[in-house]
């Protein structure tokens, strides 16, 4: 099994630079998720690893080998596409065995491999159907099966679940996690869904505009984001951002009656900062509080979200646990622990 090493990897389409120097180490057997907003270059980076896009600059190693100019079929990778990319005129069995025919694998060995993949993915009864006779989730499993039979060192997934409905997505997410346990290979997985990223990844790579913003485990990114972008991107619902000004080792919140919240973070007096508080960090018993009026309440049963604001200020999201008493129009003292605040400077970088 092999890991990957990217050093200063760049990609330009004509004069437009899309990937602007990516350095990344991926360990063998690691499940890595590339996440970021639409157009940030996730697919492009994945396709460069696959060899479908030429690398404009930098180095790509898979295992110990420099792969920049190696043919896609010789990189020890297999890829699962968002559109499944199944061969429409072939049955499930033919789809999965097709590539092996050209790898000079004997017929009975192909059959054995395909049957094994079918067992893992529970495709048994579907083997003689054509792709158009399958549901979206089944097609996705066939596409994964087609990748499995090649025994790649590295699996590449490009938004494999985004064409599925919500329920199936959760189901397939669990399947993929199980598959990773069973196959013990390196997986690189692209998504713009941060929940998928949080649940699947050993390591998340947050991309923005062709630049890696932060790399870390899901909880590192959640607890300890390096900048405003990562803080806002990871976590659902999104983190709340408040304007603040540093004064005497505390933050003054001008939009909230100039309330002063003590903080351990050090910065010069008068520094304008952005304060980040996650919705779930508003808790009874916190020593700081924001005076708010509840605007809208969403009861999800196990969780109640209140959207509240002070005066005409920005709407904040509060996870109130299971506080079913909150109602629209109520005044609400949103308590929180000052230690749970994250503080960012004017450039969006975290001040620790």
């Amino acid at each position: 099994m092999s890991g990957l090493k990217l050093r200063g990897v760049r990609k330009s389409f004509g004069s437009v630079e899309v990937i602007k120097g990516v350095d990344l180490d991926i360990a063998s057997k690691e499940f890595v998720v590339f996440v970021g907003p639409s157009g940030c270059g996730k697919s492009t980076l994945l396709r460069m690893i696959a060899g479908l896009e030429a690398i404009t600059g930098g180095e790509l190693h898979i295992g110990d080998e420099l792969m920049n100019d190696v043919d896609p079929s010789k990189r020890g990778i297999a890829m699962v596409f968002q559109t499944y990319a199944l061969y429409p005129h072939m049955t499930v069995r033919e789809n999965m065995g097709f590539a092996l025919r050209f790898a000079k694998v004997p017929k009975d060995e192909i059959k054995r491999q395909v049957d094994e993949a079918a067992r893992i993915l529970e495709l048994g009864p579907l083997m003689d159907r054509r792709p158009k006779e399958l549901s979206g989730g089944q097609r996705q499993r066939v596409a994964i099966g087609r990748a499995i039979v090649r025994h790649p060192e590295v699996f590449l997934f490009d938004e494999p679940l985004s064409n599925l409905d919500a329920e199936l997505r959760v189901h397939m997410r669990i399947e993929i996690a199980r598959l990773h346990k069973e196959l013990k290979t390196t997986i690189i997985y692209v998504t713009h869904d941060q929940v998928e990223a949080m649940t699947l990844a050993d390591k998340i790579v947050v991309l923005r505009d062709g630049v890696v913003e932060q790399v870390g485990t899901p909880l590192q990114l959640y607890d300890n984001p390096d900048n405003l972008f990562v803080a806002g991107f990871i976590g659902s619902p999104k983190m709340n951002f408040l304007k603040g000004i540093m004064e005497n080792g505390a933050v003054r919140l001008p939009d909230y009656e100039n309330r002063i919240v003590p903080t351990g973070v050090r910065a010069a007096d008068g520094t304008p900062v952005t304060v980040g508080i996650r919705p779930e960090h508003f808790k009874e018993g916190g020593s700081a509080a924001l005076p708010l009026t509840v605007d809208i309440v969403e009861h999800l049963g196990g969780e109640t979200y209140a959207y509240a604001r002070h005066g005409n200020g920005d709407l904040l999201t509060l996870a109130t646990g299971n506080d079913r008493a909150v109602g629209s129009g109520d005044s609400y003292e949103a308590k929180f622990d000052p230690a749970s605040m994250l503080i960012f400077d004017a450039g969006g970088l975290r001040i620790r």
């Binding site: 896609p72 297999a78 990319a85 061969y87 790898a103």
Partner: protein, 292 residues
């Protein structure tokens, strides 16, 4: 019972298509029925009488007809496959995003089928004449000149080259359109999986284009069975009837010789029957292929 609204909608509908129906009736359906009736008439010029199956008997004894039928079949069997394969290869090549000057080549290859027929025929005739550019080039390369217009075999070759030149681009457009609808990631998946380019063409492109290939084959078959323009303008059916086609023969029967309208209608119906049979066979073959 249909409600009043439904009845009114029906009347409206028929009124809308009436002009088209009337024109089609006068200029297509009536002549077709008339020609079917004519095909059982014998006699020359305007005095004809019902002859029963006499015209059909005449077909089998008519060496010129048999000649024309043979020539048409040769054109069909040789030209259609060559053209379809060429069109496919061009389409696949010109679908490659990395190819330089794609749109220029696409236009260049498509252009022949919209150029003036007579202009191109005159040009072909002069290029392939005994002392034309083509022979001059052949001689320049140290080869023997070819009697394009005077040898029965080479005249057929010339006609085949001419129709292939004119219609390959037309068929290519259909394949290009079909190829552009194919999800690109199918080919990318095949590339990653190590499927060699020839196998991608043979096992992925061809099967996916099958419906379009069937369509173009049927259209080309019909076109070639009705072949007239090129033999008329380039070789005048010669030399010694080597490029005489069924349509050309119908023309001769109707307008050149002492007109024999009944018999020429019979020959026209031979083409109709051939088109019917061949189209049926092609659909059958396509269906078999799908089941296998």
């Amino acid at each position: 019972m249909a409600s009043r609204v439904v009845v009114r909608e029906h009347i409206n509908g028929w009124l809308f298509i009436a002009p088209a129906l009337i024109l089609l009736g006068i200029f297509m359906i009536y002549p077709i029925i008339w020609s079917l009736w004519m095909s059982f008439q014998t006699g020359r010029g305007m005095n004809f009488s019902f002859g029963g199956l006499a015209n059909i008997q005449r077909l089998f004894a008519d060496t010129v007809f048999l000649r024309a039928l043979g020539n048409t079949m040769i054109f069909l069997v040789v030209q259609v496959p060559i053209m379809i394969i060429l069109a496919l290869l061009f389409a696949v090549a010109l679908n490659d995003t990395k190819l330089w000057g794609r749109s220029f080549f696409r236009t260049a290859i498509f252009l022949p089928c919209v150029t003036s027929l007579v202009a191109y025929a005159v040009l072909f005739k002069s290029m392939f004449s005994a002392e034309g550019v083509v022979n001059a080039t052949l001689v320049g390369l140290g080869l023997d000149p070819v009697p394009w217009l005077t040898d029965p075999f080479w005249a057929k070759v010339l006609i085949i080259m001419a129709i292939t030149w004119r219609w390959t681009g037309y068929n290519m457009i259909f394949y290009l359109a079909a190829l552009q609808n194919v999800d690109r990631s199918i080919y990318e998946a095949a590339r990653i999986d190590g499927v060699p380019p020839w196998a991608r063409f043979l096992y992925i492109t061809l099967p996916m284009l099958k419906p379009v290939i069937l369509f173009t084959t049927v259209i080309s078959t019909i076109g070639t069975l009705q072949l007239f323009d090129e033999p008329y303008n380039i070789t005048q059916g010669g030399p010694s009837q080597a490029t005489l086609t069924l349509s050309y023969y119908i023309y001769d029967l109707t307008f050149r010789f002492m007109p024999s309208f009944g018999y020429s209608a019979t020959v026209s119906w031979v083409i109709v029957v051939l088109v019917g049979i061949l189209t049926f066979v092609q659909f059958l073959v396509a269906r078999e292929g799908r089941r296998a």
